[in-house]
């Protein structure tokens, strides 16, 4: 009995993300695997056929349109990192769109915009200075917290005017990406002077 596998992916490189659907036979007895690929979400989608010439745990040789390339792979958490010709790509399964389930919590997280409630660390870093206190009124662009990573300093700034409601880190603390650092309550700039 032959099983078919059809999955939807989001392939990202830099600022560009591309939806891609792959279909292939899951019980392939042949050495070469033929894969049908639909590129883009448009109607009609562009379709190409790729051939996997060989694969191992960390690399695949893929042939598309007469060109073959080595794709280096590294699955990491819910995504897979890949490299072809010096350019890197991140591939995530698009949940709900494929016939297989896949975790894509990070996908949902990247889709959300600036969160005014809690500003978090963009990368692993050490908190080098906290310049505000709970209750401080801040202007848009004002530096709230300084982080240091690899000899470089980075400022966490207020995305809009507001009031600090909580500080969630300590000076000297090592914070991981996504870790909330400071909570802000947005305040319209026309609200007048802060009360003492």
């Amino acid at each position: 009995m032959t099983r078919h596998r059809s999955r939807q992916w989001v392939v990202t490189s830099g600022a560009v993300s591309l939806p891609v659907r792959t279909r292939h036979d899951d019980d392939h007895a042949e050495i070469e695997i033929e894969i049908e690929i639909e590129i883009g979400a448009g109607d009609p989608a562009r379709t190409v056929t790729a051939t996997i010439l060989s694969s191992s745990d960390d690399a695949c040789i893929v042939s598309v349109g007469g060109q073959s390339a080595v794709v280096r792979l590294a699955p990491h958490a819910s995504r897979c990192h890949a490299m072809v010709g010096g350019e890197t790509f991140t591939v995530m399964a698009d949940s709900g769109a494929g016939s297989d389930s896949a975790d894509s919590d990070e996908h949902a997280a990247t889709a959300s915009g600036v969160d005014l409630d809690a500003l978090s660390a963009p990368m692993p870093a050490t908190v080098s200075a906290i310049l505000v206190k709970p209750g401080s009124t801040v202007k848009a662009g004002e530096t709230l917290i300084r982080l240091e990573a690899m000899k470089m300093e980075q400022a966490i700034r207020a995305p809009a005017a507001g009031r600090v409601t909580a500080i969630a880190c300590r000076v000297g603390e090592l914070v991981q990406p996504g870790r909330p650092l400071v909570a802000l309550e947005a305040r319209p700039t026309t609200a007048g002077k802060p009360h003492q």
């Binding site: 490189s13 600022a15 560009v16 350019e87």
Partner: protein
Amino acid sequence: MFTRVLIANRGEIAVRIARTCRALGIPTAAVFSDADRNARHVGAADTAVHIGPAAAAESYLSIGRIIDAARASGADAVHPGYGFLSEDPALPAACHDAGLTFIGPPARVIARFGSKINARRAAAEAGVAVVPGGEPDDQSEPGIAAVAREAGFPLLLKPSAGGGGKGMVSITGEDELEAGIARARREALATAGDGTLYVERRIERPRHVEVQVVADRHGTVCQLGERDCSTQRRHQKVVEETPAPRLSQGLRTRLLTAAVSVARQAGYENAGTVEFLIDGTGDDAGCYFLEMNTRLQVEHPVTELVTGLDLVEAQLAIGAGHRLPWTADEVVPRGHAIECRVYAEDPAADYLPQAGTIAGYHEPAGPGIRIDSGVGRGIDVPVHYDPLLAKLAAVGRTREQARQRAYAALGEFAVLGLPTNIGLLRRVLAHDAFVAGDVHTGFLAEHGEALVEAEPDEMTMAAVAAAVSVAHAERDRRSAGEGPSAGRYPPPAIASDRPDAGVWDRLARWRLGAAGD
């Protein structure tokens, strides 16, 4: 030569030093912090000593801990590498007190070149021009302003005790002067811990060319040619090459002669680099002393590739009091070499350094390719240290051959799991201006947008999805207890988190457990 050399560093340079020692049959000791227990340099040495917590101040920058580690491992010499304590005159002094040989220049020479003001005086004493500017004895605001007006605009205010372009303030005219001096003072205090400033004329589109020198205790000072390090981002080098492209023979001779004069006048010993700013291209171009780095330089491999010499071997020989292992006549540079620095950084986010775990790793190889790497699969890149991961150098008969080889090899270099500048490096090497050798320190800033991100190709993205889909299916098969499919190579029998790991890597780790803390 030595009973054991302690390598007081981490990352690629610690691995590189260990390799030469191993080739010479000299045992080595590595040091590691809490953040580096599984780092590649730990396994590269014959024994390893834990020296403290992740924070560099309490581990790689702690002279006490380095000296203790040298004693504990039975070392009689200390190689500082670059960065960390390599240019701190207190380390050679402490080594001397502990009866250890410091592989580098004497403390007084390091101290002299560690101060930018004293370094400029040393160059002037050797009859070598310095960038127009001054060294205000009067460090008050009016005192600095007077020297600044004399040097002329545009100009730079730099911390005397700083380095690596940190804390530098650019001033384009008189109206910015007063505020600029105050800002430079703050920056100098913040980055160098010392508010002493010096003034330097800013040269437009300058080139950064440096000369490798090596000197022994017996009066021999030898230059090993120049390196062009003009391709920089935020004053940090990214691509270096030798010989420097588009450099007239007259200008080259002036540079090499000036470098030897500075080293000789200063009583230099061991390997060092004299850096110059070049204003123009012809024989009469401006050629100004910038600073002298009193240590092994990050980009030393390009010099090794064209001369066939091993600079770490020379450093060890000089440290042991031997004569230089070659004569000047024997040094005949051949061909052209280009080095690319692979950093964990995101060029699209203003080169923000990145940390994380390297989930996938593959090093290129091939004719004329040399990789100096401090990382591998499964290794953590900690936030605590410099984001340099590896260096890829290519040598060729011509500059163009070296460039093509480096470009192709970068296309095979996989460092997966965190952003790197590999794509950017490829685009730099492919850029028309770089191909033509038209390099200057503003190159990356000038062509930034075209270099930072590539427009991804849809067919490549489709190929990537195909590969991931098949890999995913294979993992599902395996977890369901099914055998590999026909086209599939079986998974490796020994799971490993290291590049090219084998039984020897495991042994190195076992030894580490025995010899460590």
